[in-house]
C-alpha cells in the first residue's frame, strides 16, 4: 500500500463521516458549515487523484460560494430543522441499502483503481493527449498549409525531426516515429497497446511556442474537444442567473435595497477586506488568463472574482456594492460572457473554419491561434460565471423574509 492509497483511504473515510453528519445534524446552520468542510475535504481528495482543475473548482465553488448561498438562505427560512420523532426512517434505509447493494454488486467487475489496462485509458486518449482537435483533421481547405508557409520546416518541427519525410502527410507509420514520439507526449503503455492511428495530421503541428499544443490538456479538452458542451454549460449558468432574477427580484419601484447589517464598523474586517480584495481580483484574472497553461480557467477564475465582490458586499453592505457594480451592469455582463464565447466561435466561422475552430484565428501558427481562442473563451466563461454568482448572492441576500 503506497502513500497515495493510504491518504485516499483516510480522506474518503473523513468525507463519509462528514456526509453522515451533514444529513443527521439538526441545525441547518451547522449543516451548511459542514457542507463547506465536506467540499474542502473533497478538494483534497481531488488533489490526491491528480485532478487539479476539479479540486480548484470544488474549493472555490463548494467551500466558498455554496456555503455563503446556504447561509444567505437560512436568514429567510430559519436555522433549525423541525424536530422529527423518529430519528431513523426505516423504509428509506431499506430502499437505500438495497440500491447500494445493487450498485456495489455492479462495481465488482469494474477495472481496478488505477489499472492502466482499463478501457478509459485507451479509447481516444492518444488523440486527446496529442490535442489533434481542430487543425487539419479532415477539415476541407485545411489539408493544405496556408500561403507562404515553409512546409518542410513545418513538418520537421524546426529541424528537430531528422531523416527522410514521406511525401504523403497521411503516412501514419511515419507519424509514430515523429515529434510526438520524440517528445514523449503519448502515454507509453497506450502507444504500445495501439496500432498507429488512422487519423492524419498528428505531425503537422508547427514549431510555435507550445509545439502546437496547449500545456493544460484539461483546458484544451474543455474549450476545443468539448467546446460546444462548455458553451452550453455556460448558458446553463446564465439561465440560473436569469431564474434567480425572475424568482426573487423585487419590482424596481420598491427599490433594490432594504436596510441590512453592515460590518464596516469593525476595523479589522474593514482593513483586511480592503487589503485583500485587490489581490483576490488579481488572482482571479491570473487564473482565467493562465487557464491553458496550468490548472484553472474561466470557471474557477470567475468564482474567485465573484468572491471578491461578495466579500465587499458582506463588509461594506450591498448599497456600496451596487455603487461599484449596479444591478443593470451585472445583469448585462452575464449575457456578455456567453456572447463572447459564441462570438469567438462565430469569428472562426467567418474566417473560414468550423464553429469554435480556434486555429483559424492565426492560420500561420495554429497553436497560437488555439491559445488565443481558448483565452477569449475562458474570459467569456469567467465573466458569465462571476456575474451570475454575484447576481445569485445579491438576489438571495436581497429578499427580506416577510
Amino acid at each position: 500500500m503506497n502513500a497515495v492509497v493510504l491518504i485516499d483511504t483516510l480522506l474518503l473515510l473523513l468525507v463519509t463521516a462528514t456526509a453522515v453528519a451533514i444529513i443527521e445534524v439538526r441545525s441547518l446552520y451547522a449543516s451548511s458549515i459542514l457542507t463547506g468542510i465536506y467540499s474542502l475535504l473533497m478538494a483534497l481528495v481531488w488533489v490526491n487523484m491528480h485532478s487539479m482543475d476539479v479540486s480548484f473548482t470544488e474549493a472555490a465553488v463548494g467551500g466558498g460560494i455554496s456555503t455563503i448561498l446556504l447561509i444567505g438562505t437560512l436568514v429567510h427560512v430559519g436555522r433549525e430543522e423541525k424536530p422529527i420523532k423518529k430519528r431513523l426512517h426505516v423504509p428509506a434505509l431499506i430502499f437505500t441499502a438495497l440500491t447500494g447493494a445493487a450498485l456495489i454488486y455492479g462495481t465488482l467487475d469494474m477495472p481496478r483503481f488505477g489499472d492502466p489496462a482499463a478501457p478509459i485509458h485507451h479509447y481516444r486518449v492518444p488523440e486527446m493527449m496529442a490535442q489533434t482537435v481542430g487543425f487539419v483533421n479532415g477539415t476541407p481547405g485545411k489539408q493544405k498549409p496556408p500561403e507562404g508557409f515553409d512546409v518542410e520546416r513545418y513538418r520537421r518541427f524546426d529541424g528537430r525531426v531528422t531523416g527522410p519525410i514521406p511525401d504523403d502527410p497521411k503516412d501514419t507509420a511515419w507519424r509514430e516515429r515523429s515529434i510526438l514520439q520524440t517528445e514523449g507526449l503519448i502515454v507509453p503503455q497506450v502507444r504500445a497497446a495501439h496500432e498507429p492511428h488512422a487519423e492524419p495530421g498528428h505531425h503537422l503541428h508547427p514549431p510555435d511556442d507550445f509545439n502546437g499544443h496547449v500545456p493544460n490538456s484539461v483546458t484544451s479538452l474543455l474549450a476545443a474537444y468539448r467546446g460546444y458542451d462548455t458553451m452550453f454549460e455556460t448558458t446553463v449558468i446564465f439561465t440560473a442567473g436569469v431564474s434567480l432574477i425572475l424568482l426573487l427580484r423585487r419590482p424596481r419601484r420598491e427599490g433594490y435595497l432594504q436596510p441590512g447589517a453592515v460590518m464596516s464598523d469593525q476595523v479589522i474586517l474593514r482593513v483586511v477586506a480592503k487589503l485583500s480584495i485587490p489581490f483576490i481580483l488579481l488572482f482571479g484574472f491570473y487564473v482565467i488568463t493562465h487557464g491553458e497553461l496550468g490548472p484553472g480557467g474561466g470557471f474557477q477564475g470567475g468564482v474567485v472574482l465573484a468572491t471578491a465582490f461578495i466579500l465587499y458586499a458582506l463588509i461594506f453592505g450591498r448599497a456600496a456594492l451596487y455603487r461599484v457594480v449596479p444591478p443593470p451592469v451585472s445583469d448585462m455582463l452575464t449575457g456578455v460572457g456567453v456572447l463572447i464565447y459564441s462570438g469567438t466561435g462565430a469569428v472562426c466561422m467567418l474566417l473560414g473554419g468550423k464553429f469554435l475552430d480556434y486555429s483559424m484565428l492565426n492560420p500561420a501558427l495554429p497553436g497560437d491561434g488555439e491559445s488565443l481562442g481558448m483565452t477569449l473563451v475562458e474570459y467569456g466563461v469567467g465573466i458569465t460565471v462571476s456575474m451570475v454568482m454575484l447576481t445569485i448572492f445579491n438576489q438571495l441576500a436581497e429578499e427580506r423574509s416577510t
Binding site: T35, M49, K82, M128, I186, L222, V236, A240, L396
Partner: protein
C-alpha cells in the same frame, strides 16, 4: 493495486450517493433535501475522477513543453473526466441556487419549509375547496396558518 482495495473508491462513491439519497427521502426539510442532493452529486463526481486515475500517473498538465530540459514520459491521468466534472460542479451550484430561490418562495407562500407540513396544507386546501367552505376539523391548526399566509 489488487483485491478489495482496488475498488474501494467505487464503494465510497456508492456510500456517498446512498447517504444523499437517504437524506432526500428521509428528511422533510427542503434545505436538507437540497444539501443531500449535492452529496448525491459529489458521489457521482468521485466515481468519474476515480476512473481517470492511472497507476504512477500525474496531473495532465505537460511540463515537457514549458521546460524542454525535463522530459516526463508520462503516464498522465485521463483528462476527460476532469473536464466533465469541473463543469458539472459549477452547474451543481447553479442548481443549488435555483433550488434555494424556490425554497425562499415556498417559505413566503406557506410559511414553512417542511415538506410534510406543506403537503398537509395542500391536502387541507383541496378538502376545503371540495367541501365548499365547511370547516375541516382534521386540519384546524393548518387552517389557522392558511388564514395568515395563503389567503392573505
Amino acid at each position: 493495486m489488487t483485491g478489495a482495495l482496488g475498488i474501494y473508491n467505487y464503494w465510497i462513491y456508492v456510500l456517498l450517493m446512498m447517504i444523499g439519497l437517504y437524506g432526500v427521502i428521509a428528511k422533510p426539510n427542503l434545505i436538507k433535501q437540497a444539501i443531500a442532493l449535492g452529496l448525491f452529486q459529489t458521489g457521482i463526481f468521485l466515481y468519474y475522477i476515480s476512473m481517470a486515475v492511472i497507476d504512477g500517473g500525474t496531473a495532465p498538465v505537460w511540463t515537457t513543453i514549458l521546460d524542454g530540459a525535463q522530459k516526463y514520459e508520462g503516464p498522465y491521468d485521463n483528462p476527460l473526466p476532469h473536464v466533465l466534472i469541473l463543469t458539472a460542479i459549477v452547474v451543481s451550484v447553479s442548481v443549488l441556487a435555483v433550488a434555494l430561490a424556490l425554497i425562499i418562495n415556498i417559505k413566503r407562500t406557506y410559511g414553512t419549509i417542511e415538506y410534510d407540513e406543506i403537503e398537509a396544507m395542500d391536502q387541507a386546501d383541496k378538502r376545503a375547496d371540495y367541501q365548499r367552505g365547511q370547516v375541516v376539523d382534521a386540519a384546524d391548526d393548518v387552517e389557522h396558518k392558511l388564514e395568515g399566509h395563503h389567503h392573505a
